[in-house]
Structure formats: structure tokens, C-alpha cells
């Protein structure tokens, strides 16, 4: 009996985080992959070791963490929110107040082990505080309450100059450095170049490692949440709130908890984003950031932790990939040989009178510029995923997996 897949003799094994041996193996391989990426030793993806790609991967971790929070609220508890950006902003400014060096704007210069958890906690407290309004309204009305939150929040951020630096100006945020207390040189510094354990690493690589570790911690927490009492309560509310209440799930209480947890993730994500970038203006915590996070959750597959991470990889890396592909294609088109050049020419406009959907000469040639094209593609992907594959990338992955599982049979 032992060793057969999908056969569980104990409830604990069924509910284990890693319920199959393949998963354990895959995970181990994936972790090794993550560790080796910045060293540039994996053939085929060695380009990822460049600073620019490491920064993009760090961004994947940050957006992933923030999106995991929305996944708890929307994916698990079924509550709609357009207000994620607001809570990210709250986290970022909490981090700034506690962690930034004293200067023209509020800053206490406390170490990261205080400001980072505090960013999450303050965001969570505010999430629970606005919760009563949110719990009272349902469904689409909730979407609008949270939309209002983003606008009101932006107004507060713009005007609270002593904390946020003011509209269009912004302020700096604490860097990713680990100090025990306020000592001059940090104990561990994640931003500047230097050796770790005898291996020479760039600052980008160190930042990448730190953020990857954070992302893994939050992935595990999220996965774990799903199999707790709270997680099951969330899902029952999502599936049918009245039924859940009749079964004894305190709807209001669990909705508040969901808001709190989601805002905690958002706060951490916002603090990390601001710290990673170094300087943010208050206008950036806007609706479009919320939409980006929603896109990550939906493209990845709502309610699935793996999906959220896949979504983050996809949404963050796609613009870069599209840009490279367009430039590559344009080069082929200009050289002008073979069927690829011919097809590419229909698609890309390389000159002033050349028809195409995308151009490489923004503003003068016909068609959309590459950034505009990226935006259009991003919008189209949101639409197409929702119409054709509501389970998102995770759904596609499931199909592929099931296909090979049953191979050569088709069922």
C-alpha cells in the first residue's frame, strides 16, 4: 500500500503541506534553483544573474507577497478589494516613520526587525479599523468602498507632507540593512556589493536573496493558513456566506480577520517595495497599483498560492520579455530575410510609413509604442484569462499535469 500516490492512511498526511513525494522533490530542486540564480551558473538562464534581472526577480518577490495578501481576502474569503494599494502605502509610510534616518521628514532610525513587522501590523490594524464598513456592505458595493479608500488614502498621503514628503516630491525610505539597534555600520547589509561566505556578490544579488527568503516565508504562511480553522472558515464564507453563518461561522468576525491578514501582507509588501526602490511619491499608492495586484492574483489563479506566485512572475517579467522580443523581431525585420522577417514586418512598424501594431520609434511611427503595447497586452491578458481560463496560470498548469499524469490515456 505504501508509496502509492493519492492514497492517504492518515488525515494529517492528506492535509500536509507537501502531500506527495514529487512535490517535495520539485520543491527541493526549485530551492536549489533559487539559490543558484544569482551565481549565473545555470546554463540557459545565466542571464538572470545580471543586476537588472535580479532586480526584476526581487520585484517578483515583493509583488508576490502583496498579492498573497489579496489572495487571502479575494481568493480564500471571497471578498472583493480595490484598496490593496492603500494598505501597501500605509505599510510603506510606517516603515519610513520608524526606519528612516531622522531628517527633514519623520524618521526614528529604528532597525529593520522593528520597522518591517510594524509596517504589517499597522496596516492590519487599519484594515480591521475600516473593516466594520467593509463588513456591512457586500459584493460589488465592497469594491466601491475600497475604491473610495484608495482615493481618500491618496489625499491623506499627498497632504501629510511631514511623513510622506508631499505630492510629486516624495521621500526616501529605510534601506534593506540589518542592525541590532542604531549602530553606525549595519550588521548585515543587503544593498552594497561585497563578499558573503567568501563568495563575491553584488548588492542586487543580496537583495534578491533577502526578498526571496521573505517570499518563501509568506508562501509557507499562506499555504498553512488554508488548512487551519480560520482558512476553512474563510472558504465557507466565500462559497456561501449565509450557509456559513448558519453552520456557526461568525461571518463578521472572520471577514474582519481576513481584512486584517490581507492588510498585513499588503503592509509588508508596501514597506519592502518602498525600501527596495528607495524613493516613492505619494501618488504611487493608487488604483493602478491595486489593479496590478488584482491582475497578479487573477492571472495566476484566484485562491491558489502557487498561482499567485506564478502570476507575479508573469506580470512583472512580461513587459521586459515583450520589449526584448519586439526589439529582436525589429532587428530581424530590418535585416529583412526569411519568413520571420515577413511576418514580423506585418506586426512591427520600423519606419515612418511602415504599417504595424507596435513601433520601435515611439511617437513618430504608426502603431503603439512598446510600453503602450505592453499595457494593451496586459489588459487583454486579464480579459482572456478571465474568459477562457478562470483558474489562471495554475489552471493551465493543472491541465498540463493531468495530461501527462494520464498519458498515454486522455482521461
Amino acid at each position: 500500500m505504501r508509496g502509492r500516490p493519492m492514497l492517504y492512511t492518515r488525515y494529517e498526511t492528506d492535509q500536509a503541506l507537501m502531500n506527495t513525494g514529487t512535490k517535495k522533490l520539485m520543491l527541493a530542486l526549485f530551492l536549489v534553483f533559487l539559490i543558484l540564480v544569482p551565481l549565473g551558473v545555470i546554463p540557459g538562464v545565466d542571464f538572470l544573474a545580471q543586476d537588472e534581472w535580479l532586480r526584476l526577480l526581487s520585484e517578483v518577490s515583493i509583488y508576490g507577497i502583496a498579492a498573497l495578501g489579496l489572495n487571502v481576502l479575494t481568493g480564500l474569503a471571497g471578498q472583493v478589494s480595490l484598496g490593496h494599494a492603500f494598505f501597501m502605502g500605509v505599510g510603506a509610510y510606517t516603515a519610513a516613520w520608524l526606519g528612516a534616518a531622522p531628517g527633514p521628514f519623520n524618521g526614528l532610525g529604528l532597525p529593520i526587525w522593528i520597522w518591517l513587522p510594524a509596517a504589517g501590523i499597522v496596516a492590519a490594524v487599519i484594515g480591521v479599523a475600516v473593516g466594520p464598513t467593509a463588513v456591512r456592505v457586500r459584493g460589488l458595493y465592497l469594491a466601491f468602498v475600497t475604491l473610495g479608500l484608495v482615493f481618500v488614502g491618496e489625499y491623506v498621503f499627498r497632504n501629510w507632507t511631514s511623513l510622506t514628503g508631499g505630492a510629486q516630491t516624495g521621500r526616501t525610505f529605510p534601506p534593506l540593512e540589518f542592525r541590532l539597534w542604531k549602530e553606525e555600520t549595519p550588521l548585515i547589509d543587503f544593498v552594497s556589493d561585497g563578499p558573503w561566505f567568501g563568495i563575491e556578490l553584488s548588492g542586487e544579488a543580496k537583495t534578491y536573496y533577502l526578498l526571496a527568503v521573505f517570499a518563501i516565508v509568506f508562501v509557507v504562511l499562506s499555504k498553512n493558513l488554508q488548512r487551519t480553522r480560520v482558512g476553512r472558515a474563510f472558504q465557507s464564507i466565500r462559497d456561501r456566506d449565509v450557509a456559513a453563518e448558519i453552520m456557526g461561522v461568525n461571518e463578521a468576525k472572520y471577514k474582519l480577520i481576513a481584512f486584517g491578514i490581507s492588510s498585513f501582507y499588503a503592509g509588508i509588501g508596501g514597506a519592502l517595495l518602498a525600501s527596495f526602490v528607495g524613493r516613492m511619491i505619494p501618488e504611487q499608492w493608487n488604483l493602478f497599483l491595486s489593479v496590478e495586484i488584482i491582475a497578479i492574483v487573477l492571472i495566476g489563479g484566484a485562491g491558489v498560492v502557487t498561482g499567485t506566485i506564478l502570476g507575479s512572475v508573469f506580470v512583472i517579467l512580461l513587459p521586459r520579455i515583450v520589449e526584448d522580443v519586439t526589439h529582436g523581431l525589429a532587428a530581424i525585420v530590418v535585416e529583412g530575410s526569411g519568413p520571420i522577417a515577413w511576418i514580423g514586418d506585418l506586426f512591427i512598424s520600423t519606419g515612418l510609413d511602415d504599417f504595424g501594431f507596435v513601433n520601435t520609434q515611439a511617437g513618430v511611427a504608426p502603431g503603439l509604442s512598446i510600453p503602450q503595447f505592453n499595457q494593451v497586452l496586459y489588459g487583454l491578458l486579464i480579459i482572456l484569462f478571465l474568459i477562457f481560463e478562470p483558474l489562471g496560470l495554475y489552471g493551465i498548469w493543472l491541465r498540463i499535469r493531468n495530461y501527462w499524469k494520464g498519458w498515454p490515456f486522455t482521461y
Binding site: 526602490v277 511617437g363 491541465r399
Partner: protein, 466 residues
């Protein structure tokens, strides 16, 4: 269900193709950059040695590190451009200006035989993207021909200093002339703050007793506030009474703030309304105040204006022409200076000018300053990133032939700062309609008002720190 799965298949295939292409693009990228790092390592090691044969023009040994490839004969200049954000329309034109300028330089032998290539990347006018793009380019370019946006440039300023790279900020914030923050930055054109003094001083000279009161309103941020401080200083120097002050009162995205400012201006009945904001917000404030019967004169920082105000179908074209005056950072289309004439010729010949607008000249000005810095670095025999920075910071009297006022980068803040507006002008709808110019009637060129001349510039008018 069947149809749905078919669609899915199509989509999946497309996705896979996309992924495959992405991989290709990525690997291409690595090979090229790996090559370039290899060669640069070669070069740095050889400069100490004896390999001078590859240096073009035989001007002696040229030290290089990033962005200058002596073998391929290219110099790469990065552009951190807003190609998709709020200023994309303007910045796209400026990038074209850069490209046309360098085409001509390269055709005439480049810099000691080296061709200059510009590499514009999109920052979307978003600080995180700006920082990301900086990181991408810093290992490929010798310097940055422009960096769009002030908070954005400040966001990369520490990195610029750490990496020792030069950048030309594409904004006219007075802080770029302040040595507290400009160690790696080159200012150009009259800053917002002194621009306000020039144009308000000009209007006072012109209107005399007709100008006694002023209403000032501004956007937040360095753009609005730098300009705002200048207007307040000008009012002080000229003895004007500030009857309405909307400091940071405008949020271009928020209709209510525009009405509020328009009401404030109308009720103050000021002789001059000095409004620094985006063109859309300016036109709304202008229109709303006009509807309420306001008849004063208008001005503001240059970016508040848009040629569409006086387009043939614009309802406000006559009102704008009758009541607004502006100052220019760079030459205007059709202006009678050698620099402008030459640039106009080049642009027209290039066939890349859709509408004649002066913004192309901004690209020219940035490129010319970069050109001077690169020439100097070449003459010094040090075309490393640090070498170009040092060369740029030693430039004195960069002659722009009237395309813009000449620039100097040595001396104290007060000596370096640009005081001259390239032009004082008023909109001219007829000239625009006839297509002979961008609709700008030039009143003065290379203009510095007496109050601007007298102003002691020691630090940025508005501080952008923290």
C-alpha cells in the same frame, strides 16, 4: 466546452511561442553584454599596456570602461525617457531631437571617429521603473543624455554618485544648479524659479502701472513649488501685491481643485494670474475663470502651455493669444539665431518632424551639452564613466549658438546658474494656422530681467530632499 478548450489550446500555444521568444531575446542579450564586458576588461587592461592601435583617430591612449567600445567604434549614451507616462508626448519628441542631432554628428565623423548611439528606455514617469531602468542601463552606457522628472532623478542620484556616472536631468528645477546635490548632474536652461522672475519682470516692465496685483497658483512638487517660490520672490522684488496664493493648490487629476483655484483667481481680481501646472489643468483654470469674467493677464512656467491651445479649432485660441505670455528654456521654432536655424534645417531634412514644435530643440540642447562633455573627455584621453563626468564638470561656456543660452559648469552656484530665458514670447494662432511656425511670436531672445540679474542664487529655491 469543446470550443472553450480549443481556444485554450490556441492560447497556450501562443503563450509557449512567446515564452520561447523571450528565452531567445534573453540569451541574445547576455551574449552581447558578456561580449561588451569582455572587451571593456580587455580595454582597461590594455590601456596600461601598449595596445593603442585600436584607438580611432590616433589621439593617443583612450581609457574606457563602460559604454565606449573602441573596437566597434561606438559610444552609447543612455536616455531615461518617459515614453508611456504623462509626459510621453513631449519626451518622445525630445528623444527624436537627440537622434537627429547625433545622426548629423556621426555623419561628420562622430567624436574622434567614434559613433554616438543613443539608447532610450521607458521610465513611464514612475520612480520604481526609473530606478529599474537606471540599473539596466548603467552597465551599458557612458552617461545619461537625459533623466526625465525631478523626484525620479533624485531617486537615482545616490546611485549616480556611487557609480560615478553623469546625467542631464530633463527638468528645470533650480536644485540642479545647487552643488549640494548636483555632483553628477548638469543643469541646462533657466530654472523654474528664475524663469518666474524673468517673465513676471518682463510683464511689469511692459505693463507698468497696469500690473499691481498678482495671483499665484501651483502644482505640488519641485516643478510647481520652485516656480511658485520664484513668483513670490519676483512679486517681492517688484512690489506687487499677492492677492491670491494657491501654493500646491492644484491637483491636475482633481477637477475640484481646478475650480477652487479658478474661483480664487477670479475673486482676487489680480492683474496677473501666474499658474504653474499641466496644460490640461491650465486650460481648465483659464476657461473657468474666463467664463466668470476674469480679464487679467496670464502666465506660468513653460510646461503649462500646449500648442493645442491655439489650434485652429480651439475655442480659446483668441483669448489665449490676447492674454498669455511665456518664457522659453530653449529656442523656438523659426527663431532667428544660428543655432535654431541650423537645428531646424537638420530636423526638416531628417523627415521626422510631424508638427513643428520647439521641443525637438530640447533634445538638441541636451545632446549638444553631452557632445561637449564627450569631446572634452576624448581630448583628456579618459572616456570612462568617471572621465566623462569629470570632463563635463570642467566645461565652461558651452556655446549653443542661440539654440539655448550658453551654459557653464564651473564656479559657485551663483556663477553657474542659468539666468537667461532663451526667449520671451506670446502665442500667435495665425502663424500656427499658416504652418510657418509653432505659433510663437518671439518678443525677446536671450532675455534676463534686472530682478533675475540681481538675485543672489546660493541654493535651490525649493528644497527637494529627504
Amino acid at each position: 466546452m469543446k470550443a472553450k478548450s480549443k481556444w485554450l489550446a490556441i492560447f497556450l500555444v501562443l503563450g509557449l511561442i512567446l515564452a520561447a521568444c523571450g528565452g531567445d531575446g534573453g540569451t541574445d542579450e547576455t551574449t552581447t553584454s558578456a561580449e561588451s564586458t569582455d572587451t571593456t576588461e580587455d580595454m582597461t587592461s590594455t590601456t596600461e599596456g601598449d595596445m593603442t592601435s585600436t584607438t580611432a583617430g590616433g589621439a593617443g591612449e583612450i581609457a574606457t570602461d563602460v559604454g565606449v567600445d573602441l573596437e566597434a567604434g561606438t559610444i552609447t549614451v543612455g536616455l531615461l525617457s518617459d515614453l508611456s507616462g504623462v509626459f510621453s508626448s513631449l519626451v518622445q519628441i525630445i528623444v527624436t531631437g537627440h537622434e537627429v542631432y547625433w545622426e548629423q554628428v556621426n555623419a561628420n565623423g562622430g567624436i574622434g571617429g567614434l559613433e554616438v548611439v543613443v539608447n532610450p528606455v521607458d521610465t513611464a514617469y514612475d520612480p520604481p521603473t526609473h530606478v529599474q531602468r537606471y540599473e539596466e542601463l548603467k552597465d551599458e552606457v557612458v552617461a545619461f543624455g537625459h533623466s526625465t522628472g525631478s523626484p525620479h532623478t533624485v531617486a537615482i542620484n545616490d546611485q549616480l554618485q556611487a557609480d560615478g556616472i553623469l546625467a542631464i536631468p530633463l527638468t528645470w528645477y533650480s536644485g540642479w544648479s545647487d552643488d549640494a546635490i548636483n555632483a553628477n548632474l548638469l543643469h541646462h536652461g533657466v530654472p523654474y524659479c528664475l524663469e518666474s522672475m524673468n517673465i513676471i519682470g518682463y510683464l511689469k516692465d511692459m505693463m507698468g502701472d497696469g500690473l499691481q496685483t498678482i495671483a499665484i497658483a501651483s502644482n505640488p512638487g519641485d516643478y510647481g513649488l520652485d516656480s511658485h517660490e520664484g513668483a513670490v520672490l519676483a512679486a517681492e522684488a517688484l512690489g506687487l501685491e499677492v492677492v491670491y496664493e494657491g501654493r500646491e493648490a492644484i491637483n491636475a487629476a482633481d477637477e475640484a481643485t481646478l475650480t477652487e483655484v479658478a474661483n480664487g483667481i477670479v475673486q482676487s481680481g489680480a492683474d496677473l494670474a501666474y499658474v504653474t501646472t499641466s496644460p490640461t489643468a491650465f486650460s481648465t483654470i483659464f476657461g473657468t475663470a474666463l467664463a466668470q469674467g476674469y480679464q487679467g493677464t496670464w502666465s506660468g512656467a513653460g510646461p503649462s502651455y500646449n500648442p493645442a491651445f491655439i489650434a485652429p479649432d480651439s475655442p480659446i485660441k483668441d483669448a489665449i493669444a490676447a492674454s498669455t505670455y511665456w518664457s522659453a528654456y530653449y529656442g523656438l521654432w523659426g527663431m532667428d539665431t544660428p543655432g535654431v536655424q541650423e537645428a531646424t534645417q537638420l530636423l526638416t531634412d531628417s523627415g521626422r518632424v510631424e508638427v513643428p514644435v520647439s521641443a525637438y530643440f530640447e533634445g538638441f540642447v541636451e545632446a549638444q551639452i553631452m557632445h561637449a562633455a564627450l569631446e572634452q573627455a576624448y581630448a583628456n584621453g579618459d572616456m570612462t564613466q568617471a572621465g566623462v563626468l569629470a570632463a563635463a564638470k570642467s566645461l565652461e561656456n558651452v556655446a549653443l549658438d542661440g539654440l539655448g543660452p550658453d551654459e557653464t559648469y564651473v564656479g559657485a552656484n551663483n556663477d553657474q546658474v542659468q539666468r537667461a530665458s532663451a526667449a520671451i514670447w506670446r502665442p500667435d494662432p495665425e502663424a500656427l494656422a499658416s504652418g510657418e511656425s509653432a505659433g510663437e511670436e518671439v518678443l525677446e531672445t536671450d532675455y534676463t530681467n534686472a530682478i533675475t540679474e540681481a538675485y543672489e542664487f546660493n541654493e535651490a529655491c525649493y528644497s527637494l530632499e529627504g
